[in-house]
Structure formats: structure tokens, C-alpha cells
């Protein structure tokens, strides 16, 4: 074993810079979608929904099962384009519904009773952790430790070329779709009636009630939106990492997404996008610069800690309360 466990391979970073960038953005976009779920719930309830990672993984299972039953598998499908679009849409919908239902069930079963009892914060966190364990190992019992067989949706094709690095259709789809979804969410929170209800509850729950806002319903809606976005994230995750669906897969990604939410400023919708993209990029640059992928999480967390030390409430700081959505 060589003892130079840390070294900075700048030539490698130069060489792989663009591919690291595009892959980092792709992952960042997925982190961002999942991070939104953390951030929305945090904004409204001041609660880290630790079990959101399981909301996400259930969505992944929804996507995988749908696609598998439609005949998708590890190999590139031989279907026509329209059929693929239809199937993917169906998978997207199933994934979103699966995640949303999970999120809603969590809210009703785990969190609402605590809210009614005005439980201390630690109790919420432990409940969330408990729910997370229960769902993870529930999946484990049913599906075992192995990941689901890979599902390939389509063969990514080169779209354009940046300084010799190919950007393929898959990367573009994921990044653009995720950004569109996040912008739509942002606009929804800012402009729609429900969105205003969410913001109102986040800023002052009692006054919101006095405005005729049904707080319980808004909380449920928030969980559902978080779930829907996680479900969408699930489709892209399966697209990007075809065999990444296993019982603990959500937990691993969830921690990164949560970190992304905190990095951007938890409670802040735009912060989730920013945090996600940044975390994706940093991790990818870091692993290439430092030589291997074992560094990804170390670099990501070190940067997170540094950012928090400089800006204790994340890059964009304040929550939905004070910031404008």
C-alpha cells in the first residue's frame, strides 16, 4: 500500500473537468428534487422529515416495478419512441403517486399524532428515524438485500460536444426536467392559492388559520408535493443509476439530498436547487481531483461544513417564512 493517501491530481481534473461537470449537474438535479421535499416540510413544520429518503425509494420501486412489468429490463428496449414515452410517463405517474402516498401516510401515522401532542422536536426526529428504519427494513424483508435488476429506459445519445466531452440526451433530460419541475414548484408556491396557503402556514400558522387556511390540509398538501417531486426524482434516478434501487438506496441518497437542502438554506425552495447542483458538482470535482470516488462524500460534507461555518443558515439562508418563497 502506498502511503500517499491524499494527493491532488490536477491534470486528471483538467482532463475530466467537463464530464465531471455534466455528471455532477445531473446528480445535483436529482439531489435537488429530493431536497425540495426536505425543504418544503421543513418550511411548514420546522421538521426534518428524516424518512423522506424512504418516500423517495418507494417512488423508485414504483418506477422500477412499472417499467419491469411493461417489459423494460437491463437491456435497451426495442420499443418505438412513442411507446417509450408513454411507458415512461406511466412510470413517472406511478412513481410520483407511490411517493406521495408514502409521504401522506407518514404524515398521518407518524407525525400528526405528535403534532397533536405538541411533542418536543427530538420526538419528531426520532419518529422520523423510526419510520425510516421501518420502511427500509420492510422493503428489505420483501425484496431482500439485492438491488432490483437494472432498468434501462433508452440508450443515451450524444447531443453535443463541449471541448471534447460528449453531453448525452440522458443528462440533458434529467437536468432540464428537474430544473423545470423545480421552477414550477417555486412558481406554484409563490403564485397559486395553495402555495400561498403553504407560505402563510410557514410564516404564521395561527394567523394563516384566521385567514381561512386549513392548516392540516396545507400540511398534507406539503407532504404530497414533496412526495410527488421525490417520485419524479425517482424516475430520473432510475434513469441515471439503473441498478441503484435497493432497500438502503434511499437512505444514502437522502443524506446527500438533505445536505443539499441545508447547503442551500433549508426551508428555501430555490436553495434546494442551488444546494443540490452545488453538492453534485463539488462531489464530482472532489473525487476526480483527489483520485477516487471514495472521496465524493468526504469532499461534499467538508464543503457543507465550511459553508455552514461561513453562513450558518446555508447559502440562501432564510426559510419560506422570511424569504420570498
Amino acid at each position: 500500500m502506498d502511503d500517499s493517501w491524499i494527493s491532488f491530481d490536477i491534470p486528471s481534473l483538467m482532463q475530466n473537468f467537463w464530464s465531471a461537470t455534466f455528471d455532477g449537474l445531473t446528480f445535483g438535479a436529482i439531489y435537488g428534487l429530493v431536497a425540495l421535499g426536505y425543504t418544503l416540510v421543513y418550511g411548514v413544520l420546522n421538521l426534518i422529515n428524516f424518512a423522506h429518503s424512504e418516500v423517495f425509494i418507494i417512488g423508485c420501486y414504483g418506477v422500477v416495478f412499472t417499467l419491469t412489468s411493461l417489459g423494460f429490463g437491463p437491456n435497451v428496449p426495442t420499443l418505438g419512441p412513442l411507446a417509450i414515452i408513454g411507458d415512461l410517463l406511466l412510470a413517472l405517474i406511478v412513481g410520483m403517486i407511490a411517493s406521495a402516498v408514502t409521504a401522506l401516510a407518514l404524515e398521518r401515522v407518524a407525525y400528526r399524532p405528535l403534532r397533536k401532542r405538541n411533542a418536543p422536536r427530538l420526538a419528531f426526529l426520532i419518529t422520523a428515524i423510526g419510520a425510516s428504519f421501518a420502511i427500509q427494513y420492510g422493503i428489505f424483508l420483501v425484496r431482500g438485500a439485492s438491488p432490483e435488476p437494472a432498468v434501462t429506459m433508452f440508450q443515451p445519445t450524444p447531443i453535443f460536444d463541449v471541448f471534447g466531452t460528449i453531453v448525452d440526451s440522458q443528462q440533458i433530460i434529467i437536468v432540464i426536467a428537474a430544473i423545470i419541475l423545480m421552477v414550477a414548484t417555486d412558481q406554484f408556491i409563490r403564485r397559486s392559492r395553495t402555495g400561498r396557503g403553504i407560505r402563510a402556514v410557514a410564516q404564521d400558522p395561527d394567523t394563516a388559520t384566521l385567514m381561512g387556511v386549513d392548516r392540516e390540509r396545507i400540511i398534507m398538501t406539503t407532504f404530497v408535493i414533496g412526495g410527488l417531486l421525490a417520485g419524479a426524482g425517482a424516475l430520473f434516478y432510475v434513469m441515471k443509476v439503473p441498478s441503484g434501487v435497493f432497500y438502503a438506496g434511499g437512505f444514502v441518497l437522502g443524506i446527500k439530498a438533505f445536505a443539499a437542502a441545508v447547503l442551500g438554506g433549508i426551508g428555501n425552495v430555490r436553495g434546494a436547487l442551488l444546494g443540490g447542483l452545488l453538492l453534485g458538482l463539488i462531489g464530482n470535482y472532489g473525487q476526480i481531483l483527489l483520485g477516487n470516488s471514495q472521496w465524493t462524500d468526504v469532499v461534499a460534507f467538508v464543503v457543507l461544513v465550511l459553508v455552514l461555518l461561513l453562513k450558518p443558515t446555508g447559502i440562501l439562508g432564510t426559510s419560506m417564512g422570511r424569504a420570498r418563497a
Binding site: 427530538l122 427494513y137 471514495q294 461555518l309
Partner: protein, 396 residues
């Protein structure tokens, strides 16, 4: 704010009202363990000591007694199960200082456990090329190294509050775990074999402290545990313990009352880390082998769950919680695959119906509090009519 800062996630008039109502009902009815606690408090100091002595004797005799029904055999060697329970209890007592007393949510506590384990291993294992010292010396050294890491983590991050601190500690835990993989000297999954043990040879020529003989290790661990408990009790009943609880209850108010909050938070981290490191060193010695596995977030969360399950802020509760968390999966190997599922469900149900854990916190924060309270009680018995608690004043 600290984790327990504020009674609720967001102020909601009705929930607050309900909670106060429930709380006051509870104090009138008395909690599940309240009669026990009352009876305990009525005992005189010598009586309490006598009772404790019995408990300690039973605790020491536990691996030898091997009580039927309770025993983990035939799936797991009972003395080793006892040892695991004792180590978890020690961990929980350490984490309780951080989470229970000071209210600092630490999701990466396993890092300190890992630091302690590696310290013990790297100073004693023949696989390590470095300086070797006798195993027992590694216990204080592991504590010191872990405390150093506690301060290292604490000084920059303890300005953060609540959830931000939680994610930073979680990140720290992950960093330590991954670095143990990356840094060649830590030998990743290859690990360190034949970690040292205390001296002594039994009649058959085998060392007394072998990794297949849980009993001596268990005795060592609970001896350490008792010492730590006494010391933690000393801290609890001093300005240090009061400062921690004040920080937990209201950090700003504590600061304004002259508590150097930052300093005491760092102390809480350091002391918690030290106990974590100590338990890590004991665990490494008892197992005889360590590698980078099992220092993950899940284990951290298991530690945290032990504290909360037992009753955050209550050191006896922490022991109970730690022992239960270690015991259940070893006892019920038949349900091994279900254990985390059951564990998760239990956590949810427990938090809904017993948010404060099995033994709710009630720390004693004054070294001579008993004397003072006894005097007050005596005086009110002597019968001043105004002495009874009056329900004067109004709620806002």
C-alpha cells in the same frame, strides 16, 4: 436553538393549549414510573446506597447467573451479550451528556466510538506498525484522543444551532468513517487483528481477557461504567450540569444568566466524545478485531435511539436504553430479519405515546439539593397555611 428549544415545532395555539392540559393532567395522575420515583426519593441516603449496592451486586453477577428466559443463548453467548449491553450502555451514557443534558443533537456520535476503537487498535494490534503500549493505557489515551476530536469538531461547529448542528455532526461521522477507508494506515476493511487486552493469565494458560470470554470484559466495562456514572453524577450536580441543562432549556437565557454557553457546549462535546472513545476502546479490545465496518450513520442513529428510548437527559434511562437496544437483536435471533422493522415501529409508537422515553428525565442538579428540599418540605409540613402551591396569577 438547541434541539429541545421551544416546546413545539411551530407555535400553534391549540396544540400548545392541549399540551399544557395533558402535561398538568399527567402531573396529577403521576407518570408510569412516578410512584417508583417518589418512593425512591423518600428513601434516606443510606437506604438508597444499600439498595444501589444490591443492584450493583446483581449487575456484576449477571453473566454468571445466566437467568433463563432472559438469556440470549443458544443463539449468542450470554456473557458476551452482557458485554455488548454494557458497552452500549456506556455509549448511551456518553451521548446522553451531549443530547440529553446539553440538548445538542449529535447524529455522528459513532465517529468518537470509532476514534476510540482505532486508538486502542493502533496502539496494541500487531498489525499496526506504530508505537505499542499496554492495552489498559489505551483507555485513557483513547479518551484523550476522542476528546481532542470532540473539541476539534465542536469549536468550529458549536456556533451552529439545532438542525444545522445535526447535519454537520452527521457529516463528521461520515467523514471519519470514509477516512478510515481511505487512509492506508487505518487499514480499511482489512482491519486490525489481535487488539490488545488487559494482562492476566488464567489457570489453563489462556489470557483472562480473551475475546471468547465475555465475563471479565463485562466486569471491566461495568466497573468503568460505574466510575463514569459517579463522575457524570458529580458533573450533573454541579454548575457544569446546571449550565448544560440551562443551555438545553433556553440557550439565550442561560447566556444572559452568566453561563458561558459556548464553553460548556464544547465541554459537553468533549466529555461525550471522551466517553464514546472509551467505549470504543473497550469494544475494540473485547472483540479483538476492528475494521471500518459498523461506524456508519445507522449505528449513530442506533446510539441516539438508545438515549431517547431510555429517556433523554436521564443517565439511568440511558443505561436502560443502551442495554435494551443491544439486547433485543441478540436475544431474538429468530426475528433477526425483522428486528430493524420492529425497532423502527417501536420508535414511532414510543414517541407517540411516551415521547420522553422509558424513564423521563429528571436530573438532580444540586450537590446538596436533597438537604435543602427536605428542609423546605419539613417547614411546609410544620404548617404555614400559605405554603401550599397557590394557583395565583393568570395565564396569558
Amino acid at each position: 436553538m438547541s434541539t429541545t428549544d421551544g416546546p413545539t415545532l411551530i407555535p400553534d395555539a391549540k396544540a400548545e393549549q392541549d399540551a399544557i392540559t395533558r402535561e398538568s393532567n399527567r402531573t396529577t395522575r403521576g407518570g408510569f414510573f412516578a410512584p417508583l420515583a417518589d418512593r425512591w426519593n423518600r428513601l434516606s441516603r443510606p437506604q438508597q446506597w444499600a439498595f444501589l449496592l444490591v443492584v450493583v451486586v446483581i449487575a456484576y453477577a449477571l453473566p454468571v447467573l445466566n437467568p433463563p428466559l432472559i438469556t440470549s443463548e443458544p443463539g449468542n453467548d450470554w456473557p458476551i451479550t452482557c458485554l455488548q449491553m454494557a458497552i452500549f450502555a456506556l455509549v448511551a451514557v456518553g451521548l446522553n451528556v451531549v443530547v440529553g443534558y446539553a440538548g445538542l443533537l449529535d447524529l455522528g456520535y459513532v465517529a468518537f466510538f470509532a476514534v476510540g476503537s482505532y486508538t486502542a487498535a493502533m496502539f496494541t494490534s500487531p498489525d499496526s506498525p506504530y508505537l505499542h503500549i499496554p492495552y489498559l493505557w489505551t483507555l485513557p489515551v483513547a479518551m484523550a484522543v476522542a476528546m481532542f476530536f470532540g473539541v476539534l469538531l465542536g469549536v468550529p461547529t458549536l456556533r451552529l444551532r439545532g438542525d444545522y448542528l445535526a447535519i454537520v455532526t452527521l457529516g463528521f461521522g461520515e467523514i471519519v468513517r470514509i477516512l478510515a477507508t481511505i487512509i492506508p494506515a487505518m487499514k480499511g476493511q482489512v482491519g486490525f487483528q489481535n487488539v490488545g487486552h488487559p494482562p492476566g493469565t488464567a489457570a489453563d494458560g489462556h489470557p483472562i481477557f480473551s475475546n471468547s470470554n465475555g465475563t471479565p470484559w463485562y466486569w471491566l466495562t461495568i466497573t468503568v461504567l460505574i466510575v463514569i456514572l459517579l463522575l457524570a453524577g458529580n458533573l450533573e450536580r454541579s454548575r457544569v450540569g446546571r449550565a448544560w441543562v440551562a443551555i438545553r432549556e433556553d440557550e439565550d437565557a442561560a447566556e444572559i444568566m452568566g453561563v458561558p454557553t459556548f464553553k460548556y457546549k464544547v465541554w459537553a462535546f468533549a466529555i461525550g466524545a471522551g466517553i464514546g472513545g472509551l467505549s470504543g476502546a473497550l469494544s475494540a479490545g473485547a472483540t479483538g478485531f476492528i475494521n471500518n465496518q459498523k461506524f456508519d450513520v445507522q449505528t449513530s442513529i442506533l446510539f441516539l435511539a438508545a438515549v431517547v428510548l431510555g429517556g433523554s437527559g436521564n443517565k439511568v434511562g440511558a443505561i436502560l436504553g443502551g442495554a435494551v437496544v443491544a439486547y433485543l437483536p441478540l436475544r431474538f435471533t429468530a426475528i433477526a430479519d425483522y428486528k430493524y422493522l420492529i425497532f423502527g415501529v417501536v420508535l414511532v409508537v414510543l414517541m407517540i405515546f411516551r415521547a420522553k422515553g422509558l424513564l423521563p428525565a429528571r436530573q438532580r442538579l444540586l450537590a446538596y439539593g436533597k438537604v435543602a428540599y427536605a428542609r423546605v418540605a419539613a417547614r411546609s409540613r410544620a404548617g404555614s397555611p400559605t405554603a401550599a402551591t397557590k394557583t395565583e396569577g393568570t395565564a396569558k
